[in-house]
Amino acid sequence: MAEALLEIRDLKIEATSYPPGERPRDVVLVDGVSLTLQKGRVLGLIGESGAGKSTIGLSAMAYGRGGVRLTGGTIRLRGDEIRTASAAGLRAIRGQRVTYVAQSAAAAFNPAKKLMEQVIETTLLHGLASRTEAEARAVALFAKLGLPNPDTFGQRFPHQVSGGQLQRAMTAMALCPKPDLVIFDEPTTALDVTTQIDVLAAIKEAIRDTGVGALYITHDLAVVAQVSDDIMVLRHGKMVEYGSVDQIINAPREAYTQALISVRQMEHPEKPAEAPVVLSVGQVTARYRGTHFDVLKNVSVDLRAGQTLAVVGESGSGKSTLARAITGLLPPRSGTIRFAGRELSRDLAGRSKDDLRELQMIYQMADVAMNPRHTVGQIIGRPLEFYFGLKGAAKQTRIQQLLDEIEMGRGFADRYPAELSGGQKQRVCIARALAAKPRLIICDEVTSALDPLVADGILKLLLDLQKVEGVAYLFITHDLATVKAIADSIAVMYRGAVVRYGAKSDVLAPPYDDYTDLLLSSVPEMRLGWLEEVIASRRMESAGN
């Protein structure tokens, strides 16, 4: 058998952690991981945050980010041990034999240099080709990756092209020196779903055509199923399961893998449209101060008591702006917002305490939604005190009740937000909203920053609370799996307008409008060959037109 392209044995990676108030200590990030990658194959590394997947990916370049140390095991590239290689030896490998595609190309490109300069830099630096050859190679790669005007594309600066284009340019940069191995580190995670599918297809094609080996790192199993030959599932720096893509997706052995696969497949039966309308947004148009462009255009939606309206759209669709308009943070220029049978004042200052109490909000980043200097008890207790005048033992009892409701139990009231996990933080934010006994909670991308399993837990909790408390949710999200899991009705937004609105069963059933069709068909599905099918059907459609 030929020598493996990359062979990692018993890899151990450590870092020094500096917990506040304690002495620094060493923590093991990755332990006992072994993998083999043959030339021209793609290995997917998958796991939740903290699984060590990026750390392992970078170890293939013998690189430790921010003080991370590769302390044990062997990393062989075509048989050469690189973990213990000298700095000069590593420079000959990095950027030449192994290259890297980062999650955020927008940050990874140098803003002061033209794209072409950066794309061909390594090729020139390592003396792999002349400038003319390198530029020709780059232009060919731009064309292959479907970038517009490949001949002149390289003359632009990074800030002059879109996010999806930058991600492809970064792939071109990685492929230009004709490496043996490319590390893709969540290359499509920061992109909108309709952009992701094109970039994904471009990357897959480029890998196939150039015959490089690749490590593909992602948290999204459906994505990795499209591009990988093999998959390694990681958790807390250890290997959980390692097998062919077919085996992992269709016959997972480990419970954790099974959980990852079944995640985000929650289905929530739609409630009948019987309850009275609690929130009615009528013909709302809004723009930000000092701009001349409406970010909301005649938006009208209704939400029934105790139900969930999912507002779905990509970045720039105006979905979060809608939340700001409803809460009064961005007073609309025209239109009405009726809530619980009364018309709400357009701006915050004109609303009564009851208006404010009955309309609560939960944010995407629970981290910055809680004052880091307040304890959990203070955070949940404040609305109790503010709206209901609760004090002393009565307040403490109610705080504990709320903590029980969000399934956090005893001992949390005295903790600070920094001591909680991401999921726990979001639960505390939910408790703070519930403390006000609201009729409506606006949930702005509340699960987007969480790992899928944790996000599922939060969605289940929200659904349970809705049954008990009868609260309505206006649920803002970009993620269609979340929509299916929680919505009773759906509004699809695109460029500031609602393009499709109705009961979930109606919105998610054909015939579709063009945008909803594009959106729905772009969501990766957890099965092999999905990407090819979609791309093929889109090509047929465009050929048919």
Binding site: Y63, G95, A107, N110, F157
Partner: protein, 318 residues
Amino acid sequence: MHPVVKLVAQRIALGMLLLLAASVLIFAGTQILPGDVAQAILGQQATPVALANLRAQMGLDQPAYIRYFEWLFGVLHGDLGHSLANGQDVAGEIMGRLGNTLFLASTAAVIAVPTAILLGLVSVRYQGRWPDKVISAVTLSTVSVPEFLLGYILMYLFAVEYPIAPSVAMVDDTMGLLAKLHAVLLPATVLVLVVLGHMMRMTRAAILNVMQSAYIETAELKGIRPFLVIFRHAFPNAISPVVNVVMINLAYLVVGVVVVEVVFVYPGMGQYLVDHVAKRDVPVVQACGLVFAAIYIGLNMLADVISILANPRLRHPK
């Protein structure tokens, strides 16, 4: 019009406006005294005749805004008024002294700026290791001593104990460049030491900030040598923060000059200003204040203009 041209023009116009407003503030600063300025200048023992003379000379019988506009009109025509102490033409006095001050300040700047940037780069390259720590410790001690004391320490060491330079920095127009440089050796060294610490620390911070960007990791992952990473990838992005640092420190240097000139009895603007503050010679103080403010505002404006020019997003709009 190209947006950069527009921005630069705006910034220059803003600088002019700021200078005008600063002139109001400087003028107002000498008017805020609750009582009679003439009385304050001459003291309690002044005779009524002397008071009346001074009032007339300063035009105190007119409202403040009229005096301001008369003053401003004079300034715009190169007339800075006459000294109350000796009746000399202030503009003429300042011309000669400004040259001396700028000579001293630019000598210091020519040494300090490249040294500071180089030390900043070395500190970044060896961050957390001994070269960084040594530079950091030395500069921390030089910025912790006021410039006049640093002046006397150097004077004590290098003019008295090991005499290699004069303790009094006298220069005049008959001297050659070399003689002049020898005369300002100690004051220039003081200025260099004072400003070097600040400039080096701020340069280090500015470059470190850039070094934490994701594109620097990209460059490292391309197998580029550390010094090349700094020069090719960090430096173009650090130009604007570093230029800002340099300008802030040059502005600071212009102020530090005031004190250092007094220490070494150097015939410059600073010495002139301080002498006449003690004599309560308002026209001289106003004129010197305005000149210092103009240099300070000019340097800050230059820093902003260079930042605008160095910003790729502004230079190459979408």
